[in-house]
Structure formats: structure tokens, C-alpha cells
């Protein structure tokens, strides 16, 4: 194993060029000139890299602790400590209540039914999702699987290069998340983004505005129509606009809940339980409004039969 690592550190990595060099690859580059000096404590040695590669993306904290015991000042010590902290302080089942809440959503969390559309599931979190503890690094640290070599590839030039590329890619991805979205190179005319309050941390609870509801006219059926044409006219000018307004309101309410669901799903991917709970609370609070729009539309749809049942009686003066 050591000889294979040494080979990786001298030949292939140099061929790979500087552009693709990452921390792990750098560790290999360092080996040739520094191997003798570092052999005493093992830091940066082929053995350390081999050890690190062997634990790869493991979720076994004891492996990272073993690495730290062997290389307390190792190249990957900080990452290993973060990984151990994550694995030790965030039990595997921490997210389970959230999943259970989502799958066992009570009826109250269901969206308003609509006569014309399939039900839309609102953010299904009747019970608050557990917020991560302050000391927790959170499950997303899994992205930090430092040198992602599935199964622990044997140490070879290719494997070492691949491992380095994985860590380098992880760092590149991490840095990319911190770039201003759609940032241009031109200096802004207003306050520089560097000091603008644009961090999603401060706005993650920002909710979409409630949909604007239109007025639904009250439907008062006459005792009788003078003619069938009068009924048709009533249908076209009074009943149909009322139904359309009620349907527009209900559609808007359903769309709002869909929007909340979409945002909720996005935060679910990031395991942002605080934001998820805020969205779920908003969805629950909006249930009453959504139920009202549904009731109005449903009542108007039912009123069609009553409209058709209104008798036609010749009116005085009618020809």
C-alpha cells in the first residue's frame, strides 16, 4: 500500500496538472519531498491518505475517531472531527418524526377539495418537525463525506486522483453555494450585495402573499322567470359570473397551498425543519380561508338545480 501511494504522489498526479488539484491530491503531491520529514508523525504520509481513503464515505464514527487517534493533526483532522460530531450527535432516527408526520398527515392538513381538481396536499406537518439541536451539525454534513471513494478503492494512482477530485469537487460545490445568484461582474449601482440583507437565513420564513380574492355576488333566485329567455339571461349575467368568481377564488386558494407545498418540499431537501414548521403552520392557518372558497363554489354549483327549478310564468305586459 505505501508503495502504491508513493507512486500516485509522484507520477500520475503530476500529469493531472495543477488545475485539478484538491486537498487530497495536494497531499499526494506533498509526499515526495516531505515524506522523510513527516514520517515521524505520519501527517501527510501515504499511510494517512490510505487510511483516509479506506474510511471513504463511511457513516461509522468509530472509523473517523480511529483516524483522529492516529493522526490528530492530520490533513483531514478538522473534517474528521466534524464528521464524528455529526455522527455522534445526530442520531440516525432524528428525522423520523418528520417523515412520520408527513405520511400520517391528519385530515386537517389536507387541502380544500375542489369540484374540478384533485386534492392538493398541503405541507403535511400537523406536528412540528423536530428542530436540530444547537450543537448539531445536522444531517446535511453527509455532503462532507470527505473523500468519497465508494467501497474504499485500492490505493492506486487512478484511485488517488479520483479521491482528490471528489474532495476538490466537494469544496468547489461548497464554494459555489456562496456565490451571489446570477451575479454579474459589473459593480452595482445601489448598495453592494456584500452588505445587503440578502441572506436567505433572514428571509427563509418569508411566505408568499395571500392570493387576492374577488367578490362573489350573492345569488338570489327570483320566484319565477317571465320566460326561458329570462332564465338564460339570469344564468349568463348573474349566475355564471358568480360561479366563475367562486371558482377563481378556490383555484387561487388551491394554488396558494400548492405553492406552500412546493416551498415546503424545497426546505425538506435541505432538512430545514424550522422553515418547514413555519410553512406547515401557515398552511394550517390558511385552511379556513381555503374551506370558505370551496364552500362558496360548491354552494353555487348546487344552486344550478335550484335555478333550473324556478318556474317560468308569463309576466304582466309580456308579449
Amino acid at each position: 500500500m505505501p508503495s502504491a501511494s508513493a507512486e500516485a504522489g509522484t507520477g500520475s498526479m503530476k500529469k493531472a496538472g495543477w488545475a485539478g488539484v484538491s486537498v487530497a491530491a495536494l497531499a499526494l503531491l506533498m509526499q515526495a519531498p516531505m515524506a522523510q520529514a513527516q514520517a515521524a508523525n505520519g501527517v501527510g504520509s501515504p499511510f494517512e491518505l490510505t487510511f483516509w481513503q479506506s474510511i471513504g464515505s463511511s457513516e461509522d464514527a468509530s472509523l473517523y475517531e480511529a483516524y483522529l487517534q492516529q493522526y490528530p493533526q492530520g490533513t483531514f483532522a478538522a473534517l474528521a472531527r466534524a464528521k464524528v460530531q455529526m455522527l455522534r450527535h445526530v442520531p440516525a432516527g432524528t428525522q423520523a418524526p418528520l417523515t412520520q408526520a408527513a405520511t400520517a398527515a391528519p385530515a386537517a392538513a389536507q387541502p380544500p377539495a375542489t369540484p374540478v381538481a384533485n386534492p392538493v396536499a398541503s405541507p403535511a406537518v400537523a406536528a412540528p418537525a423536530p428542530a436540530p439541536s444547537a450543537s448539531s451539525n445536522g444531517p446535511a454534513l453527509a455532503m462532507a463525506s470527505p473523500v468519497g471513494v465508494p467501497g474504499g478503492l485500492p490505493v492506486s494512482a487512478a484511485a488517488a486522483a479520483g479521491a482528490g477530485a471528489t474532495l476538490g469537487q466537494m469544496l468547489a460545490d461548497l464554494a459555489h453555494t456562496q456565490e451571489t445568484p446570477a451575479a454579474g461582474t459589473a459593480a452595482p449601482a445601489t448598495l453592494p450585495a456584500a452588505v445587503a440583507p440578502v441572506s436567505p437565513i433572514s428571509s427563509r420564513y418569508a411566505l408568499p402573499p395571500h392570493p387576492q380574492m374577488v367578490s362573489v355576488p350573492e345569488l338570489i333566485l327570483p320566484a319565477s322567470f317571465c320566460s326561458a329567455e329570462d332564465r338564460n339571461r339570469y344564468h349568463d349575467t348573474i349566475y355564471r359570473p358568480a360561479v366563475d368568481a367562486a371558482k377563481r377564488n378556490n383555484d387561487a386558494a388551491v394554488a396558494y397551498l400548492k405553492t406552500l407545498q412546493g416551498i415546503y418540499d424545497g426546505y425538506d431537501l435541505g432538512k430545514d425543519t424550522e422553515a418547514m414548521n413555519a410553512l406547515a403552520a401557515e398552511a394550517r392557518a390558511y385552511q379556513a380561508d381555503a374551506a370558505t372558497t370551496f364552500s362558496q363554489q360548491a354552494a353555487l354549483v348546487r344552486a344550478f338545480d335550484e335555478l333550473m327549478a324556478v318556474p317560468v310564468a308569463p309576466c304582466a305586459g309580456a308579449k
Binding site: V23, A27, V43, M86, A175, Q178
Partner: protein
């Protein structure tokens, strides 16, 4: 259609080859390459500064390790700034300020969360270790800053 696709692919390959050659030509001299490396260090420092501020607001204070990273690597960061200042000072007037603003804007509006903060803290802690290998900093900067602003300035498209 298949023939057209092949021709299009060949055209794309030729274009890429030309671009690669152009990029190599622009960064071929050691002076430009060194400036690009300095630009990466400056951007990495700015990135970490913005992250440390955002993370502090998110409840993860990595400023101590960030400051430690700056302290341990002060000579290199200062050297990078001086090199770029010399570039702008002699050829572009007040361009250094504009450059620094562009870099700050690039990372001023990023998104973070406690998990990412923990990762950045691990990176900073690694580089804040006085015993860390001196080549770790440029390697991390190289990995995290793939396309530095300064390279776009020094190597505009077509050169």
C-alpha cells in the same frame, strides 16, 4: 440529420480546442499565472469573510477560526493583495477598488445554513492550524475558486 449532428459535434470540438488554446496562451506566462493564483487567494479570503458573517447570523460563529486562518496565512494573503494592487496601480488606476467590489459582490449574496457553516469552519480550522502544510491553502483556494474574477480580467474571451 445524423450527418449534421456529427458536423455540429466536430464544430463544437474545434471551438473548444480553440478556446483551450486561447486560455493556455493567456495564462502561459508565469507572471499571469501567479496573478491568477493571487486572485484565487483574494477571492477565497473574501468568500470566507462573507461566509463567516453570514454564519454568525445563522448562529454558527466561525469568526475565530477565520481570523486564525488569516493570521496563520497573513503573509500569503497580504502578498496576494499587494501583487494585485501592483497590477491595478500601474495599469488600471483605481481598478483595484472596483476589482475588490466585484469580488465582494460575487460572494455577498450567497446562501448558507448551519450545515454548510460547519463545513466552512472545518476548512478554516484546517488552514488555521500552524502545522498545516503550506501548500494546503493554495490547493483549497484552487479547488474552491475555479473561475476567479481576475482571470476573466486578464484573459478576456478571445485572447
Amino acid at each position: 440529420m445524423r450527418g449534421k449532428a456529427v458536423l455540429a459535434a466536430l464544430g463544437a470540438v474545434a471551438t473548444l480546442s480553440a478556446q483551450t488554446a486561447s486560455a493556455q496562451a493567456c495564462g502561459a506566462d508565469s507572471g499571469t499565472a501567479e496573478l491568477v493564483r493571487s486572485g484565487k487567494l483574494i477571492e477565497f479570503e473574501t468568500l470566507m469573510m462573507a461566509v463567516s458573517l453570514r454564519c454568525a447570523r445563522a448562529g454558527v460563529d466561525l469568526r475565530p477560526v477565520y481570523e486564525g486562518m488569516l493570521s496563520v496565512n497573513a503573509a500569503r494573503f497580504n502578498g496576494a493583495h499587494e501583487a494585485v494592487q501592483r497590477l491595478f496601480g500601474t495599469t488600471r488606476g483605481t481598478g483595484y477598488d472596483r476589482y475588490v467590489t466585484q469580488v465582494a459582490n460575487r460572494y455577498g449574496g450567497g446562501a448558507t445554513d448551519p450545515q454548510k457553516c460547519a463545513m466552512f469552519r472545518a476548512v478554516a480550522a484546517t488552514l488555521a492550524n500552524p502545522a498545516s502544510d503550506p501548500r494546503a491553502l493554495p490547493a483549497v483556494a484552487d479547488a474552491m475558486i475555479a473561475a476567479p474574477v481576475l482571470r476573466d480580467m486578464l484573459c478576456p474571451a478571445g485572447r
